[in-house]
């Protein structure tokens, strides 16, 4: 974000109305050509992020969650490419646009923050100047206006004494402060949606809470939407109202966070939940998921989770379950999602399983 070239000057926009879709992905495929084959990392992902809403995207390493986010932002690391589907940003399909036009359109609507704030910032530039860069270069503000805007943004993300911190270099700040600066930069283009890729994974819990609070406040007060990619279900639970669970490059369950985390209807979501230790209720042994994630270089015949699934039936191995609606806003890609059974090892059972020895 800090290496923007001069773009067309535009007026600052007001944040879009809460509830309008800002980002829509339709059947997006991402592939990575490798010497020994094509790694099909994202396999037909569809999701919608609305203004003023916090959407969580969870999954484990290799589930395709980060690449999905980067595909939306047109920031796929080379040689990964989008090979199918469409990305619709603020109502406009950007897939067919020329690259320069596409970036301009995307960056005026959405902004991204990354896990490692230190490498995301320019180490040779004062943080204030980095925040002022977009207002100055893209929004056409004068030097003084841009500076005032930067100070405003720094205060908005909870940086105390912004006048003084304006002149600091990234290495002079703590991890939490650096991430706040990144959020300030993300906000400087007045986006309707912030895409955050594991923004607090590198931070301590107390600092993590502060950063999540900043993002939560922006959403409530200014209607800035959030797509939060994380592997931490507890972070999602306290931040996002909607949740997409990814496995093997696909969304396997989708719905409100509350429902998904209390009554998951996909065995993978259930399994993931029970492997998370609860700080308030230790158990004798954590339940685990046997086996390993699928090899994404190969085509997957049936359900990608079938080899590790406790509820597997023959059909799962041959026929891939599509996302099927269960109730309003809740879908699950499991052939057995409709069956009124408790998934083995659902959260409620684990909590009472044993008392700490």
């Amino acid at each position: 974000m800090s290496t923007l070239v001069d773009g067309p000057v535009r007026e600052p926009r007001s944040a879009p109305t809460v509830g309008t879709p800002v980002l829509e992905l339709h059947d997006v495929d991402v592939e990575i050509p490798l010497p020994h084959g094509r790694l099909h990392a994202v396999r037909g992902v569809s999701l919608t992020a609305y203004a003023g809403q916090a959407l969580g995207l969870v999954g484990e390493s290799g589930s395709g969650k980060s690449l999905t986010l980067r595909a939306a932002m047109d920031l796929l690391p080379s040689p990964a490419v989008i090979t199918g589907g469409s990305v619709v940003v603020a109502g406009t399909d950007v897939t067919g646009m020329r690259p320069a036009q596409r970036r301009e359109h995307i960056s005026s609507t959405m902004a991204m923050i990354f896990q490692d704030a230190l490498t995301a910032l320019n180490p040779t530039m004062r943080i204030g100047d980095q925040v002022a860069e977009v207002p100055r270069q893209r929004l056409g503000m004068s030097r003084t206006e841009a500076r005032a805007r930067a100070l405003d943004l720094l205060a908005q993300v909870g940086i105390r004494d912004p006048e003084q911190r304006y002149r600091a270099f990234p290495h002079e700040l703590s991890g939490g402060m650096r991430q706040r600066v990144c959020i300030a930069i993300a906000l400087s283009a007045e986006p309707g949606l912030i895409l955050a890729d594991e923004p607090t994974t590198a931070l301590d819990v107390t600092i993590q809470k502060q950063v999540l609070d900043v993002l939560g406040r922006l959403r409530r007060d200014d209607g800035v939407g959030l797509v939060l990619v994380t592997h931490d279900l507890a972070v999602v639970s306290s931040t996002c109202s909607e949740l997409d669970v990814m496995y093997g490059g696909r969304v396997v369950e989708e719905g409100s966070t509350e429902v998904l985390l209390s009554a998951p209807r996909h065995p993978y979501t259930a399994a993931l939940l029970r492997s998370v230790p609860d700080p308030d209720a230790p158990v004798h042994r954590l339940l685990t998921i046997p086996g390993a994630p699928p090899d994404l270089l190969q085509p997957i015949g049936g359900c990608a989770f079938a080899p590790r699934c406790p509820a597997v039936v023959d059909r799962c191995r041959t026929e891939r379950p599509p996302l099927m609606p269960l109730s309003a806003g809740h879908t699950s890609a499991c052939w057995r999602a409709h069956e009124p059974q408790e998934w083995p090892g659902q959260v409620g059972e684990v909590a009472v399983e044993g008392v700490h020895g």
């Binding site: 484990e60 390493s61 205060a155 908005q156 909870g158 940086i159 105390r160 703590s174 991890g175 939490g176 402060m177 301590d204 819990v205 107390t206 600092i207 993590q208 809470k209 502060q210 999540l212 609070d213 900043v214 939560g216 406040r217 409530r220 592997h231 931490d232 279900l233 507890a234 972070v235 639970s237 306290s238 931040t239 109202s241 985390l261 209390s262 399994a271 993931l272 939940l273 492997s275 998370v276 230790p277 609860d278 700080p279 308030d280 230790p282 158990v283 042994r285 954590l286 339940l287 685990t288 998921i289 390993a292 959260v347 700490h356 020895g357």
Partner: protein
């Protein structure tokens, strides 16, 4: 609660570890004293036989430095680390020092990428003359099996393993020396949750079967609660609270412990209303 026989295995007494910075070139010319970082500033801790002591705190609180001192990797500025009553530092023979072993956070960088698992493990066994040469191969097989890796893993390089499997290799390497005390510095924080669960279970099993005592360093309160009998909370180089795990979690005494516990995100915990964070930073 804590299945403690009362016998001390590892004791840290008045431990201080300061690091002297180099200061700037200009500062040195002007004769300014270099800055001293007081990573650990007077810590007393006792680890009993068969016990797991969780050491928690945030980055920079000194928990890793303390664990490295306790493992004998750093020579402390002052204070003593005793293993079964004998000072660990300056111990004349390897036999003493090998009884305290360490598992590191990053399973990617803590293994030699050019050595197979078998080579890594047999090097240790040979160097410490733990088994006769003829039996090294067998012992390597046993170790690999102990940590739940397939036998063919012996001839493979670290790069062909996933994060969780590499951490198993790291644990096998520590166990090769038949230690009494295992010091694990954030052993699961680089792993996915489901993999994290398997490693925690493995450590719990090993502790049981081998009768290990463990110092478990982590910033993850949920993981620490799962694995520890007792907990010590570190902040700014000192231990601010220490006690049995359920006691510390349910009745935290120190303000810092309370803050730490309140900050832990919880599944099902309603999204907390944002406190006025503007203009407030703890650091």
């Amino acid at each position: 609660m804590s299945a403690v026989s009362g016998e001390e295995v590892l004791a840290v007494e008045g431990l201080v570890q300061h690091f002297r910075g180099r200061g700037s070139a200009w500062g040195r010319l002007r004769g300014r004293p270099p800055k001293v970082v007081k990573a650990v500033d007077g810590v007393d801790l006792v680890l009993h036989r068969g016990e797991t002591l969780g050491l928690v705190g945030e980055s920079g609180c000194g928990k890793s430095t303390l664990s490295r001192c306790a493992a004998g990797l750093y020579t402390p500025t002052s204070g003593v680390v005793r293993y079964a009553g004998q000072p660990l530092h300056g111990a004349p023979d390897r036999a003493q020092r090998r009884l305290v072993q360490m598992v590191f956070q990053d399973p990617y960088s803590s293994l030699n990428p050019r050595m197979t698992v078998g080579q890594t493990l047999s090097e240790i066994l040979t160097y410490h003359r733990l088994v006769p040469r003829a039996q090294v191969r067998t012992r390597v097989g046993e170790l690999v099996d102990l940590v739940g890796l397939p036998t063919r893993a012996v001839d493979q390089l670290p790069r062909s393993f996933s994060g969780g499997q590499r951490q198993r290799i790291g644990i096998a390497r520590a166990l090769a020396l038949e230690p009494q005390v295992l010091i694990a510095d954030e052993p699961v924080s680089a792993l996915d949750v489901s993999v994290q669960a398997t490693i925690i279970n493995l450590l719990l099993d090993l502790k049981e079967t081998l009768g290990l005592s463990m110092l478990f360093v982590s910033h993850n309160m949920a993981v620490v609660r799962q694995i520890s009998d007792r907990i010590a909370v570190m902040h700014d180089g000192v231990v601010v609270e220490e006690g049995d795990t359920p006691e510390v979690f349910e009745h935290p005494q120190h303000d810092y412990t309370r803050l730490l516990l309140a900050s832990v995100p919880r599944i099902g915990g309603t999204p907390a209303p944002a406190p006025a964070t503007a203009g407030r930073d703890l650091r």
